[in-house]
Amino acid sequence: MKRYYKVAEHIFSLDMPYGENAKCWSALGNYKPFEIEAPAGEESVILELTLSSASVVDGIVAKAGAEAAVGYAAGSSVSAGSGKDGEETIGSAEKFKVGEAVQWNPVNVLDGGALEPVYTLLGEPDEPRLHIYRMKDGQWQVEMAPITAMPSCASLVMNPESSRATLYLKRRSAGKFAIDNALMLMFAFRTACMNTLEMHSSVVMKDGYAFMNLGKSGAGKSTHSRMWLENIPGCELLNDDNPIVRLDSEGRAIVYGSPWSGKTPCYKNMSAPLGGYVNIIQHPENIIERCSVFEAYASLYSSSSGFKAVESQADGLHSTIEQLALNVPCFNLKCLPNGDAARLCCKTVFDALEK
C-alpha cells in the first residue's frame, strides 16, 4: 500500500508491502499529520520510497523464496530481533551495548559487487551512523544503523537524483529508524535544489513568526526553546530537531514543521515566516550579538543537511543559504539555560524584526 505526504509543500510517497491496517503504519504516526490523498498527477510527487519485502542475506538481497533471515549469527554483539510480532512490526531498535564502532564492509546489496565509499557520518557511540557508497551505475547505496556499535540495519538503494529509492531491511526491529532516516536523507538531497533546507534546529513560534535555534549537538537548542515556552507568553514549539525552511515565490523564508523531530514527539503540520535565527553557545552569562553575513552563512551551512559533494545540491544549498544569510537577522546568543536568556533573546529578535 502506498501513502502520500506533504511536507513544506513537497509531496512524497511511501510504499510498504503491508495493508492499510498493518501495525507498521501505526508505528509511523509521526507522518500522520502530513498525510494527503493521492495527488491527481504523479509528477507532483518529488520522491518515492519503497520498502522491499525481500530479505537480505549476507548483505545481498535474497532471491524470491529464500528464507527470511533477519538477525545476526551467534557471537555477534547484537542480539537478533525476537521476531515474535512477525514481519508486520517495525518497532524501535532493541537495546544493545554502546561501544566501539564495528567494522562495516558492505557489498552492493543487489549483486554482491564492490562499492565505492564516498561519505561517512560517524558520530558519538550512541549516535546514528550512516555511510554513503556509489554503485557502479551512478546509483547510491546508503547503509545505516541507530548507533555506531551496531551492524548496518538497512540498505537504501537510491537513484542519482534521489527521487526514487528502495529500502531493504536487515533487521525488522530497526524498521522505523530506517524509514525515518531514508526519508529524511532523500528529502534533504532531493529538495536541496528546490529552495529548501532541511535544518538541524529547534524552532519556537511567537506572534506569527518562527525563530530557529541553531548550534552544535549538546549546545542547548532544545533547552533554549523550552526557556521560551516556560517564560514567554504565546509561544509554541514548531519542531525540536528537523524543521524545513523554504523560500516562497517572493523569496520569503518560511519554516515548516516535519515528521522528524529528534527525541521530542512534535510533528506539527504548521508553518510560519522565519523571524530570525540564533546560534546557541553555553556561557556563564547572557550576551546576545548580531552576526555578520559571513557568520550567519557559516552557521546555516553547518546546520543544514544535504550532500555537498553533489554539485547540484551544493549549488542549491548555497543559493538558499545565501538568501537567508543576507535577508534574515542572525544572532550569537551566549547564554545560561534560564528565563532571562529567553527574554533577552525574544526582545532582541523582535527589535531586529521591527527595523
Binding site: 553575513v293 553547518s302 559533494a309 548555497h318 544569510a325
Partner: protein
C-alpha cells in the same frame, strides 16, 4: 603550490567565501572569507600549480602596482592560504 581539490569559491552578497564541497573534503569544516582581490587571484590560480611570482604578476596585470608591493602582497596571501590549510 596547488590548492586542495574540492574547494569552491562562492559569492556571498558583496563578499567572497571558499567552502569545501568535494568528496575528499568531508572533514574540512572550515569556511574562508576572501576580499575581492584574493577572490580574483583565486579564480586565476585555482586548479593550477602556481608560485608567489604568478600571484604577483596577476596583481600587476590587474592593478598596475609596482613589483615590490606586488611581491609583498602575494607573499602575504600565499601565506594566509597556507595557514588556512588550503594547499594539497
Amino acid at each position: 603550490m596547488k590548492h586542495k581539490e574540492g574547494l569552491k569559491l562562492r559569492k556571498l552578497g558583496r563578499e567572497f567565501i571558499v567552502v569545501a564541497e568535494g568528496m575528499g573534503l568531508v572533514n574540512f569544516n572550515k569556511m574562508i572569507s576572501l576580499n575581492s582581490t584574493a577572490a580574483y587571484l583565486w579564480e586565476n590560480v585555482y586548479g593550477k600549480d602556481f608560485t608567489v611570482e604568478d600571484l604577483a604578476k596577476l596583481l600587476i596585470d590587474k592593478y598596475g602596482i609596482d613589483q615590490e608591493l606586488a611581491n609583498k602582497d602575494s607573499a602575504s596571501i600565499a601565506q594566509a592560504w597556507k595557514d588556512a590549510e588550503l594547499y594539497e
